[in-house]
Symmetry: C2
């Protein structure tokens, strides 16, 4: 078996395979590992058939395996995480104990010869004929393996089931594809901001003592609690005033501390020094949201642009979303094809968004359109539409999915429903805020021009009954050399939902955190 | 003043300057803002002199300003955050009230003509003569501005002082350079892992319920505490067993939750499915460390390599550090020059690390060398050196700074001082762990090959008195299709310290968190 002029297989099994495989195979080796990636083989023009005759090591997990020819040989579909496709691997019974190799989930590290399959018209243009088995990671008990038959269309585990197995979920092909798509969206984000537009990436603080008027309920971070001791005695309580309060001067940061709900304030300190900045922070909400679109821990891409107004903010947000869509079309063909098996429209959706100018609509115009739809009997909403309301998800989705069937940017919202820091428009009724709405998920981006006028900002805060003292540093940015600036935040997991067509946000993040669950 | 054939300046002040400035200036405009970046001008070959005659808008903060010519004009040094250099800006008294423009910290948005300075041999090859002032962000009270005279070498604020002004610190030139260097190190990280070596970036979980044998004391994350209410009544206490414990089934995640000290476990779940992965997570330590090298919140770059052993892990770590050093030499010339004003050796250090193979030394050899140094009277250590001790910072720095004067990788540590998950070597005394030590900071990277053998791992855990139950998922990775794998973590702020030569780790992160402080 094998080419007699090739070096003996035992040499290939030496500690560093890279140094011993023939040069042509060596050049294909995955860096820092003892394998050639399945992607490297199958992504070649011609599907890898040009590599026939090469001896290569591969390492991955068996997706399905079957013994054939009355026990003479076995076929394994092996996935190594590098791409959606499996490599077909043939092992003869003379080479290894086939029964330990075939269970789904087995890890195999093998060296073999790449050959063109004898069957004409085979799906794969090349398969591996094993010459030596370097390692088998067998299943302790195949009957107990939580993810059997993952390639069997009728026995595929449900997303709900897989959430109980987050430590094994990356072995599922569809989930691995989502991980790669996430990764590419992250790369597109950096390319767009850094390379295309000169933004600097900044790490904002995750733990914060700014207990400001925020976007949501906050998690508290503390070292005061002790899991296994008598707790009441442990909590330092200030003697007065009654009722007793916890004395946070004894806590780690000398005061109550929280997990950040947004990096905006931090980014503003940089933008107000002229820096174009962005961050991809983990952000947190301690709300009891049991929906398919909320997580307790998620990633938000936030950008802050010095010397910019709302118009430029909207331009930047639109360009960013388009860029990500085009990026996936360019870079993730195979993984997007896999997504399209569940959501046929997902690729067309990316194309639409990448190529169509977004609709721009003032809040006032949006409300008018929604009121007209109700008046003409086209649509009933749960929540009544009238000028001044905060648009609900049903309104947003009607605008983007039904009326326009494309992304819509709604801007100039009533000041009463928006945060104090958004810039007051000349009408004194609306603020320079904007939301980007897209089909499938609704609100994807929220942003605004920030109020840079010290007196106006202070006035707005007083109007809203906010105390000034906790915001002194924020006011400092306006007090000393103020600059117009604008920014926005994009819910990164919502972008993954939009791109992949996956239904539940818990399935587009490797380790989802939501009420009652923070596995691992 | 100005070119009579150019369009009237008032047109330049229109909302979107991009559409109205002459085409040649338009092509230089910073995207999504109303300015040309100072970097765009000064980084041109010839220092921007070729742009003389162009009318451009700029926007930034005055570093120093002085009125001259008996009040006829003022010179402003303006920095816009895009580079370390300021642009010299000249304003005549006929154009604006000079007294509001000159205070340090004032924001100016101006349109002017670029001209070659009349003075021969001037430091800058081009300066801006203002034609119209679009906006002035004046200082409410210049005397109260916390950062006056930042360009004055003798009046420069100290790093300690600046830590009290994290919201204004990005205006300090040296700090802005550190932010840009951080950004470039982050980019080098992604380029190295993703583009050069095919790793996938993964978001690991920040909040975790894994209360495992960890790298350090953990912060707790909770929604049980209430700042402003009577606390004892609020904490749900389980009735039994006595003494009363907090009932964490009532907490947000249904059990006690913490901030992650490492993404390793999460990355291992992916590596064990074949994925080459890395993350740049915020990680947390709730230790009362008041040193210049510890933070409560920091970034750790962690990589996990499937199908790899310790040798490949070390290769990857060395290649990564070298890559970052070369990247800074290639991309950050001006900012590194600024760093060299305080630490003359910083550029030479980058060159050394980028070009010299790292020393590889077993722990046993390292201890021998240190013992020899003591025996021969070359060095006294606070902590006695003998086989079996955990090397202290003084030992590590002696190895890398005195004995070898270059980076050193120490590997194969005694199992007694290392974590349970590190792979047991054949000698049964040492584990396949490694630390990368570099001059100036000591330990920069820690890593290991992970124990992939189920029985050996379980045996190690029992030896160390660890309960198996909380680690069942970790054991599952070995129980079902185990694969050899290895990984490491790099303290990102330590890499910034090493690169910049800055003394205190609190000054290389925009929003430092340490005992008693989490400003903003």
């Amino acid at each position: 078996m094998g080419d007699p002029t090739a070096p003996p297989v035992s040499e290939l099994a030496a500690a560093t395979l890279k140094d011993s495989v023939p040069p042509s195979a060596k050049s294909l080796m995955d860096s820092f590992t003892d394998r050639v990636l399945v992607r490297t083989i199958l992504s070649r023009p011609g599907g890898g058939a040009d590599l026939a005759g090469l001896r290569v090591p591969i390492c991955g997990l068996v997706q399905t395996g079957r013994v054939q020819g009355k026990g003479a040989f076995a076929f394994l579909e092996v996935n190594d995480g590098s791409c959606a496709a499996d490599l077909q691997v043939m092992v003869e019974a003379t080479v290894a104990d086939l029964s330990t190799l075939v269970p789904t989930g087995t890890c195999v590290h093998v060296v073999g010869m790449l050959k063109v399959p004898p069957k004409l018209g085979a799906k794969q243009k090349v398969e591996l004929h094993v010459e030596e088995v370097l390692h088998v990671g067998a299943l302790a008990d195949p009957a107990k393996y939580p993810l059997p038959n993952t390639n069997h269309p009728k026995k595929k585990p449900t997303p709900e089931y897989l959430r109980d197995w987050t430590h094994l979920r990356p072995r599922i092909k569809e989930f691995a594809a989502v991980i790669r798509i996430r990764d590419e969206l992250g790369e597109a984000t950096r390319k767009f901001f850094r390379e295309e537009h000169g933004f600097v990436h900044v790490d904002t603080g995750i733990i914060t003592t700014s207990d400001c008027e925020g976007a949501g309920k906050m998690f508290q971070v503390t070292t005061l609690l002790r899991k296994d001791e008598k707790q009441e005695k442990e909590l330092p309580l200030a003697a007065s005033p009654a009722p007793a309060k916890i004395d946070y001067s004894k806590d780690f940061f000398g005061q109550a501390a929280y997990l950040s709900v947004s990096g905006q304030l931090h980014l503003e300190t940089l933008a107000c020094a002229g820096h174009k900045v962005f961050t991809v922070g983990p952000t947190f909400r301690a709300e009891q949201s049991h929906t398919s679109r909320h997580l307790a821990e998620f990633r938000m891409v936030e950008a802050e642009i010095p010397n910019a107004d709302l118009e430029q903010d909207m331009k930047c947000a639109e360009a960013y979303v388009k860029y990500m869509c085009q990026w996936l079309l360019d870079k993730c063909h195979d993984d997007m094809q896999l997504m399209a098996e569940h959501d046929k429209g997902c690729i067309a959706r990316l194309k639409l968004v990448a190529s169509t100018p977004f609709i721009r609509l003032s809040y006032t115009e949006a409300v008018q359109l929604l009121e007209d739809a109700v008046k003409h009997g086209k649509k009933k909403f749960e929540k009544k539409v009238e000028w001044g309301i905060d648009l609900a998800s049903e309104h947003e989705r009607y605008l983007t999915e039904v009326i326009f069937q494309k992304p819509v940017i709604v801007y100039n919202y009533p000041k009463g429903i928006k945060a104090f820091y958004m810039r007051l428009n000349d009408d004194s009724k609306t603020v320079a805020a904007m939301d980007v709405l897209v089909p499938k998920v609704g609100e994807l981006i929220g942003g605004s021009q920030r109020e840079e006028r010290y007196e106006v900002l202070q006035q707005r805060m007083l109007e809203m009954g906010l105390p000034l003292e906790p915001y002194e540093k924020y006011l400092d940015l306006r007090r000393y050399g103020t600059m117009k600036h604008a920014g926005f935040g994009l819910g990164f997991e919502r972008m993954v939902l939009f791109s992949t067509g996956i239904d539940n946000i818990r399935d587009v993040i490797p380790f989802p955190r939501y009420p009652g669950r923070a596995d691992l």
